[in-house]
Symmetry: C2
Subunit: 143 residues, 2 copies
């Protein structure tokens, strides 16, 4: 398994340990993890801090993202998908899309390469979280 994916999963678990929503992401360039992040809705009351967004914020200003890969434990929502499109990140590796389908077709329609790992650890972690905290999960996806 890649270092980027393992970093995203570790970030998700860290978020869970903090009482947060367990979704993590990592931005990778040239095989090196340059930033990680996890959902921070609970921890900092920030509704835009999904895992992917938190990783991109942590990466700071970048001249380009065309040479990067974004790893995330869960299929990106419309916000994170729009961000990948806007930042011109060419490739997204998704832990799982079972517990939330995300906007994979929109990503692909804009030329982003999407790989879904269908990782059991990610799917089990999210399914447990959604069952235990349905109100928090609904809030995070604005349902």
């Amino acid at each position: 398994m890649s270092e980027g994916f393992e970093a995203a999963l570790a970030a998700a678990r860290e978020g869970l340990a903090q009482g947060g929503i367990p979704i993590g992401a990592a931005l990778v360039r040239g095989g090196e993890v340059i930033a990680v992040g996890h959902n921070e809705r609970v921890q900092s009351g920030d509704p835009i801090a999904h895992g992917e967004m938190a990783a991109l914020r942590a990466a700071g200003r970048q001249r380009t993202y065309r040479d990067t890969v974004l790893y995330t434990t869960l299929a990106p929502c419309a916000m994170c998908t729009g961000t990948v499109i806007q930042f011109k990140i060419p490739r997204v590796v998704v832990g799982e899309a079972r517990t939330f389908g995300g906007e994979l077709e929109l990503l692909r329609s804009r030329g982003v390469e999407v790989e879904v790992l269908d990782d059991e650890r990610c799917a089990e972690m999210m399914a447990d979280f959604q069952r235990e905290h349905p109100e928090l999960w609904a809030e995070d996806i604005a349902e």
Copy 2:
């Protein structure tokens, strides 16, 4: 002119006065401005802090956005468009779409009502900024 739009424009001007990219936004509920924000790429080195995103962050956690309107001085990029879609904000009022076309068609295709004011003050402010700081503008839209 609405209070929401004037608040977005004031936020953009405040960002400009700080040496930042002059794009502002305001989130309104029931005619009342509940949060404002402006682009913070320069001020805080945060690439996800477009004006719309900064306003949504400032608003904090909300139970719903279905009763809100988002005002922004410039047509929303793909990131901010995806966020409007994800948060289910039903209506976006845009200062101008002359200096940047944004993703207005994607917004409309997802059922978001979009009004473009074509405001001269917004268009002049952005045209001046793009001419004076082409490298910063290119970075902000990842070109």
